[in-house]
Assembly symmetry: C2
Homo-oligomer: 471 residues x 2
């Protein structure tokens, strides 16, 4: 990590303390080292301490679930115990977890999952036929027709086929090969697995991994675990956090003095920036990767979360193919998707996939071997991934309900924003029924009058701002 | 890995070839290196090759899902295409996957899982009240009351409480603390995570990890990934594969010349040996670990798979506590359990837990940090773990049916063995109903007469052997 520390600038955000930050040396452990000569004492020094542990793990910093999140838990307990605060509820906006924020799961997805879980329900008249069809297809491809069997390490065959068909549709016909699809335990697993294979060398030929700043902290954590070199490129805050290829050039040039930059990670749409890259930008990045011989990692887990009408998601895969054979048969690319984001937000199932392009056939064998060590990704997560890429289509029984929930209804969107910005939790009118084209919300007026006044003031302020922004 | 190769003897089993064995150098990659000076050619050499990849990953050998399993897949395809073989079906006995072998999931477990997946079913009269109670308890502890939210990285609180209560019951009252329980993505994840934290040092102070030979190949794979030193101790084949502490002494003595042995892995009950360690043996091992300052890893995933009436499972935790405070407050132990084995065999859900004893508080922080990087284990797997440790109890509606399936019924046992030993798949009589105390199986007689004759001969031979063995 000394190598890494020399190169990277982590100054972008305040450094964390305690177990989440750099290894502070522990007075307790130092004191106990004195006792080492007296092993007969009943309290011996520990074998596993901050001093003796894996130094790369110690160097991992993890921001998303660090001390702030621990503190949030404490505050929640305090609120429960009645301690007064300027707010009455902690709203956990630290991680993109739609269902924890009150978003309801997609009915169709959960119906298929329930049918797969407890196939007795296949006889139940209260489940629609299209959900049963999906469930049967998945179960037939599972060992013993059960979600309870290990799957192939690369994932259930028919689910990989469905993923490939989805990608082909998404990319307007650019073909995807099920052999290039690997199902994973969330995108996190795919990203760390491919990085694990990529990292090699020592000293100045240690692998450098280029990541955007700001980044999603999984990247810096895995780079640290692997003792690779983190090479930062800065997104352009003054330009809506756009990626600038000149900044990539600067970063790679400086990095080459210290390491062997071999991997370029892109997060598009961006987290935490929300930036959606233009087609032109993606072309520039691919050309740069080709020129500099960089392996591309495209984290595209937010591909379904593009809301602004001026933006469109372009996959790296599609642009790569459109750039012609010089690129499409040479540039090595792994792209990632997840059940956790998009409109479904099924984080807890830990479903995900990765598609690899131009991976050397021998490396594919190595990849499957590495995945085999941990047997397989959760089969329920694989099933969830299947529904995400294979939703109801027009003509199927569940299509109407599905398409209604997919585009978040305006009242749902309003209530979500209200919750996020004020902590006030109300119910969208659609839950009660409303005349087409009108939108309502329902709130209880149980709080005492004084409190209600402040609550209503907050709603009013929010409403004015909301209309300014989205009118 | 040179360090490792000098020390370990992997000669116990034939070495594998291809991507599953040691990195053979690739002629293709060497040839393409010549082209490096002509980057304008349309087929460039790859960035990620056997030569450039992570050498520790390359060195991983993985036996359980290696070339034999790939071959099994090929043979299955051949059989499907009608190619004649001395058998008509591949029976996948390479990995302990009960449901892939035809074992039915436990109804209660799947009912709870279905209720958690699709909470509308909580209103359905076709689900028993005790299953609904379990599902409500789990959902209440989940973010947004949904399996679709990320859980705390250590796992859902109430499930960790249930695990602790289970361990306390199992160990006759020796207390377990929910704070010491970490839910994991199968036992595989727990084992590799704790090893990742433990490994450190370079040259002669590189961490040595003692593992039994024969082992479960996850261990050698993870040791290789981490570039740690594999220290083999041999189980005594002439003595039913018992663990002999003198052999541990030999192994650690020799290892100390090359590395710093810091971890002792035990698999009890053994895989692949099936050996169940005596209480005395466990005491000796704990004393040895205490003496030699070794961190103990107790892989106890087969704790519910003890069939012989002369054997009993003793947990390392319990024996440790019974040995008195010198041991129970000093020996560092991590033990592992899984939803994959036992009577439930829910491999696909990737549920598991680890209990840590005497882990330094600072290391606990490090552990949670490391787990946080990958967010959380699959919440559906956590729910499955909850049912495994919290099954129906006498007085509850589902108890009777559950206890009947838990002790595998004699007809089920017979059919399982028949399938395993002859490939003949028949149906236990209990699936059809039978008079109490009598046992049947049902087979179809659709094959042509000649074939039926050989099938019946096989059944006869099996039956005679079965009665000899189990009468
Ligand atoms: C950019 C990005 N990539 C990857 C992930 C990992 O998601 P998961 O492992 O749940 O698929 C996240 C989660 O927030 C993310 O924001
Ligand atoms: C001894 C042993 N430990 C651990 C495991 C891993 O099991 P899982 O990751 O499915 O919990 C297995 C699986 O076969 C095993 O045999």
């Amino acid at each position: 990590m000394q190598r890494a520390a020399a190169l990277v600038r982590r100054g972008c955000y305040p450094r964390t303390l305690g177990p989440w930050g750099r290894g502070q040396s522990s007075a307790a452990a130092e004191a106990s080292a004195v006792l080492k000569v007296r092993p007969e004492r009943s309290r011996r020094d520990r074998i596993l301490t901050l001093e003796s542990m894996n130094p790369q793990v110690k160097a991992v910093e993890y921001a998303v679930r660090g001390p702030i999140v621990l503190k949030a838990g404490e505050i929640e307990l305090e609120l429960q115990r009645g301690i007064k605060k300027p707010f009455t509820e902690v709203i956990r906006a630290n991680i993109g977890d739609a269902q924890a924020m009150g978003q309801q799961p997609i009915t169709f997805l959960r119906q298929v999952m329930a049918l797969c879980t407890y196939p007795n329900l296949l006889d139940s008249p209260s489940f629609p036929e299209d959900a049963k069809k999906r469930a049967r297809r998945i179960l037939q491809a599972c060992g013993g027709n059960s979600l309870g069997s290990y799957s192939a390490s690369q994932g259930v065959n028919c689910i990989r086929e469905d993923v490939a068909a989805y990608i082909t549709r998404r990319d307007g016909g650019v073909p995807a090969d099920p052999d290039n699809i690997y199902l994973t335990t969330g995108a996190s697993d795919g990203i760390s697995t491919i990085l694990k294979i990529l990292v090699s060398g020592g000293g100045k030929s240690r692998t450098g991994v280029m990541i955007p700043i700001p980044q999603y902290p999984l990247y810096s954590a895995v780079i640290s675990e692997l003792d690779a070199i983190q090479v930062n490129y800065y997104l352009d805050e003054d330009n809506c956090w756009a990626l600038n290829v000149n900044e990539l050039r600067r970063a790679v040039r400086e990095a080459k003095e210290q390491c062997d930059p071999k991997v370029l990670c892109i997060i598009n749409p961006g987290n935490p920036t929300g930036q959606v890259q233009s087609r032109k930008c993606i072309e520039d990045v691919i050309h740069f990767a080709w020129e500099e011989k960089l392996f591309l990692l495209a984290d595209e887990v937010y591909q379904d979360n593009v809301y602004s009408p001026d933006c469109r998601f372009h996959s790296f895969k599609k642009v790569l193919y459109e750039m012609g054979p010089e690129y499409s048969s040479n540039v090595e690319l792994a792209s990632f998707h997840s059940t956790s984001k998009g409109y479904m937000g099924e984080c807890g199932y830990r479903g995900g996939y990765m598609e690899v392009i131009n991976l050397h056939p021998e490396i594919k064998g190595q990849l499957v071997k590495l995945l085999s060590v941990r047997l397989c990704p959760p089969v329920s997560g694989q099933a969830a991934m299947d529904i995400v890429v294979n939703p109801p289509v027009p003509g199927e029984e569940s299509f109407e309900q599905f398409s209604r929930t997919h585009q978040m209804a305006p009242d749902m969107f309003y209530c979500m924003k209200l919750l996020e910005e004020t902590g006030i939790c109300v119910v969208p009118g659609s839950g009660f029924g409303q005349r087409e084209g009108t939108y309502h919300f329902r709130m209880t007026i149980l709080p005492p009058v004084e409190k209600l006044k402040t609550v209503l003031q907050k709603v009013k302020d929010f409403h004015i701002k909301f209309l300014e922004k989205y009118a």
